[in-house]
């Protein structure tokens, strides 16, 4: 271990030890209580980090899981009896179950709707607990039995139980961040539809993320219930508790390991201060509401990421940037196209229809993509090309019509299953996971879904090797460890192509690959596509750059007003009356020059 690393880790270890051994070091009840409540909030915030920090879903209901855990312990030990050793784990299971239910209910919601549904969930639980009097005692609350251990132990059992739970939560978060599951969650945060298109089973990931974010919180809630020996709806299901948990996460730093813990140990002392010195009540509302506003406005990244960034910027101040260095173009003989229009179809669409309100975007559209071909799909703007892509990949469902891959009907399958079967696509405006590095983007695609996959390491050796190969292929090796948000538009196009290839798809759908990039890069991209095609890869390309399309593709499918008006070789299409009228224009003359052989 280097001296620098020791210097960085040592303070964390010392502070962590101080917290763990706190009740041993001091007998001061006030501070012991403060540390215990901080631990409860830290567990809550660490859980919240999974669904909000990793997966990007703003949940306002995290306090509900603490409350559910506390109520489970209270009701269990009062109505049934038995040791906390049963009720604490059961409280975790119960919280997990409710999180699952909430996940199920919110499956179709994102962003605002999700925030609304979570806050409603919290209030609904509160109303039910308040009104279900003969079971929960309603607003008057429940008093738990006082622990019967020796007074000499004081609060130690509560403290150490919570330390243990926080340890488990952090280990879980740490582990998740380093698995396929965690990468999938982060991919969802960055772009959920894109994540589905590269084979990530988003609903399952979301539900699981939810459950993980609640289980330990429910257990901590149970310990908390035993500790304060009294639970009531307002105390347990108050929104302010959720606000404190969210605030801890935001203040410390979303998506970081220590952020939620750091935040909790700032927020809870602030809470005690507001209660004891400022009279609680309204001042707590003003302080926490106000701090939440300030954090969102002034410190949106949180303490830890902000500090880390400052340090990194300082360290790298003399290092030259990568941006601007040349993309390595390799001179290779241009491979002959192997596109054979008469080969059997690998992908086929039949009689697709799609209507947006009064607009018939796709009307009875049918065409096939022969195995091993470079097939072009051209047509005027608004002719439905991208909509057809969306229907093929499953991002939209058609009103009617069928999609076949290798003779198997796939139009009823979700996007990620289609990706697993071999449909890969790029987007007109590139969609990469901006906060992830190029390498992470390349190992994010999944070629199957299994329970075991969730726990697999995020980047295995094989995957890294394969990613490096793909990066070399598109000439982006130098950018391997850069976040993709720092790349230029053309570079992103290349990375997105490599990302799709990582799926090893049966057919690659390219949406305007040559749009908006410089002529040299267009040339290079054409060579790349030919090269991949020569090794057997099938492409379906939407493109407006006619020299590019006509020099590269055969067959060509022409779409106008949502219908295939012409299909055939580039020569046939260029002479077709309908195509000249609908798209190319009467005066269309293409220089007889292909890509790469100028």
């Amino acid at each position: 271990m280097s001296a620098g690393r020791v210097a960085r880790i040592a303070p964390v270890v010392v502070v962590a030890l101080l917290i763990v051994l706190f009740p041993v070091l001091t007998g001061n009840g006030y501070y012991q209580n403060m540390v215990i409540i901080s631990l409860v909030i830290a567990v809550g915030a660490t859980g919240l980090n999974i669904i909000t920090g990793f997966a990007g879903y703003p949940s306002l209901a995290q306090g509900a899981f603490l409350g559910l855990g506390a109520y489970a312990a209270a009701l269990g030990s009062l109505r049934v009896g038995g040791s906390p050793f049963y009720w604490i784990p059961l409280a975790g299971v119960l919280a997990g179950f409710f999180a699952f239910l909430l996940g199920l209910l919110s499956l179709r919601t994102r962003g605002f709707s999700f925030a609304i549904i979570t806050v409603s969930f919290l209030l609904l639980v509160r109303i039910i607990v308040q009104n279900w009097r003969h079971f929960t005692e309603g607003s008057s609350g429940l008093t738990l039995p006082i622990p019967n251990w020796d007074r000499a132990y004081m609060n130690w059992p509560f403290h150490f139980a919570l330390v243990l739970l926080l340890g488990f939560s952090m280990l879980m978060a740490y582990r998740i961040r380093r698995t396929k599951f965690g990468v999938g969650l982060i991919a969802m945060r960055e772009d959920e539809d894109k994540a589905a298109s590269i084979g990530i089973n988003t609903p399952t990931y979301k539900m699981l993320g939810f459950v993980c974010s609640a289980v330990f919180v429910g257990m901590a809630g149970a310990v908390y219930g035993y500790y304060i020996t009294f639970v009531d709806p307002l105390g347990m299901f108050g929104l302010l508790l959720s606000v404190q948990i969210i605030l801890s996460l935001l203040l410390g730093g979303k998506g970081t390991m220590w952020g939620p813990v750091l935040g909790a140990f700032i927020i809870e002392p602030l809470n005690e201060f507001a209660n004891n010195s400022l009279g609680g009540g309204n001042s707590r509302l003003v302080i926490f509401g106000g701090v939440l506003v300030l954090v969102v406005l002034l410190l949106p990244q949180g303490i830890i990421p902000t500090v880390t960034r400052r340090v990194t910027t300082y360290r790298e101040r003399r290092r030259p940037g990568l941006t601007g260095s040349r993309i390595e173009l390799c001179e290779r003989p241009r491979p002959a196209t192997r596109s054979d229009p008469s080969a059997p179809n690998v992908l086929e669409v039949r009689n697709l229809n799609k209507r947006f309100g009064g607009l018939q975007a796709v009307a009875d559209c049918s065409f096939g993509v022969p195995q091993g071909s470079l097939t072009a799909l051209i047509g005027p703007n608004g002719s439905g090309k991208t909509t057809v892509f969306n229907i093929i990949t499953g991002m939209m469902s058609a009103d009617s019509g069928e999609v076949y891959l290798d003779g198997r009907r796939i139009d009823h399958l979700p996007p990620w299953t289609r990706a697993h079967l071999g449909v890969g696509r790029t987007f007109q405006i590139t969609r990469l996971f901006g906060e992830m590095t190029v390498l992470e983007n390349l190992v994010a695609p999944l070629r199957e879904f299994s329970a075991g996959q969730l726990n697999r390491g995020a980047i295995s050796g094989d995957e890294a090797a394969r990613a490096d190969e793909l990066l070399a292929l598109v000439g982006m090796t130098a950018y391997r460890d850069r976040p993709t948000s720092t790349l230029s538009y053309g570079q992103r196009k290349l990375v997105e192509l490599a990302q799709v290839l990582a799926l090893d798809p049966r057919v690659v759908l390219l949406d305007e690959p040559a749009g908006g990039i410089n002529p040299t890069l267009v040339e290079r991209l054409g060579e790349l596509i030919l090269e991949l095609n020569a090794s057997g890869r099938t492409f379906l390309i939407v493109e407006h750059n006619m020299p590019f399309v006509m020099g590269l593709c055969n067959p060509v499918r022409v779409l106008a007003r949502g219908t295939t008006i012409c299909q055939g070789s580039p020569e046939q299409v260029q002479r077709d009356r309908c195509v000249l009228e609908a798209y190319l224009g009467d005066d269309f003359v293409l220089e007889p020059k292909g890509v790469g052989n100028a």
């Binding site: 306002l60 709707s113 925030a115 302010l240 606000v243 509401g289 939209m396």
Partner: protein, 293 residues
């Protein structure tokens, strides 16, 4: 039968006031794609201002509305420039958390100013009713609803007939296109937000006549308003009006035939059902961002 008709009448009257409150929230969403979770707190602030004018200055709440609206327009203006504007382009999470925090901040501030005991504006006529046979219409509720309708019609006229209204509609349908044709987007957004706050204030004035409130009521109110805008379809004013009437009548029915304890649960259950079954609401369209490019 009388009981049912009576319940429906009360429900529609309450629903009218809900409609005013919800239309402000939904217009703000339509123009700036922000759900203002502090809308409930702004409403309660309007109620407190009206209450103060009535209690200390003897101004009739139905006249006090004018002052309340002006003050709340100013509050909305300030809130917009200080807090909302910086997060307009930020991800959803930011604006949700910001307005969520704002709601609690305002609740605390109001608690400091007006205390935490229940208030209500009660001029003499509030306790009396119009009687139609065995049916009765409480005057406070009646005038409140009437005023809500008048304000909504005025708002609708502003939106459909004036240059400002055209700018608001243009920004709602496409902000970029509106900017290209010279609409001053920051100003339109600020005015929309301030108008939303003003309408929340006006609705609050009515609530101060119709029922009692504390600063902490904001959270139940925002849930109710959210359920209305979600049911109506985010961004749709006609949807919000229809949904407000549905919820008003629904709560009234639950209150009469089940138990008043469960009527707040109705709006929450409604939110769940709609977001599961039909996320775009009754009259809403699917958001552009739901559609892949």
């Amino acid at each position: 039968m009388t009981k049912l008709v009576q319940t429906l009448i009360l429900g529609v009257l309450v629903g009218g006031v809900y409609a005013l409150l919800a239309s402000g929230l939904t217009v703000i969403f339509g123009v700036m794609r922000i759900i203002n979770i502090a809308h409930g707190a702004l409403m309660i602030m309007g109620a407190f201002i009206t209450y103060t004018l009535w209690h200390y200055l003897g101004l009739d709440p139905l006249l006090g509305v004018v002052v309340t609206v002006i003050v709340m327009f100013g509050v909305g203006w300030v809130v917009y420039f200080v807090t909302v504007r910086p997060v307009r382009r930020a991800p959803v999470t930011s604006s949700v958390l910001l307005t969520f925090g704002l709601a609690f901040f305002l609740e605390g501030v109001m608690g400091f100013i007006w205390g935490n005991s229940a208030r209500g504006s009660r001029p003499g006529y509030v306790e009396t009713s119009f009687n139609l046979g065995s049916l009765y219409i409480p005057k406070g509720l009646f005038f409140g609803c009437l005023l809500a309708v008048v304000i909504m019609v005025a708002l609708q006229l502003v939106i459909s007939k004036t240059w400002l209204g055209r700018s608001i509609r243009a920004s709602a349908s496409s902000e970029d296109a509106a900017r290209l044709v010279g609409v001053n987007i920051p100003m339109v957004a600020a005015i929309t937000f301030a108008l939303g706050a003003a309408s929340a204030g006006a609705g609050g004035a009515m609530i101060s006549i119709m029922s009692t409130f504390v600063a902490g009521s904001q959270i139940l109110w925002i849930t109710r308003l959210l359920s209305i805008v979600v049911l109506g379809g985010l961004g749709s004013v006609p949807g919000a009006v229809v949904a407000a009437l549905i919820l008003g009548v629904g709560e009234s029915l639950v209150g009469t035939y089940v138990s008043p304890l469960w009527s707040p649960a109705l709006s929450i259950i409604l939110i769940f059902v709609i977001l599961v079954v039909r996320p775009q609401g009754l009259l809403g369209t699917k958001l552009r961002e739901d559609v892949a490019q």
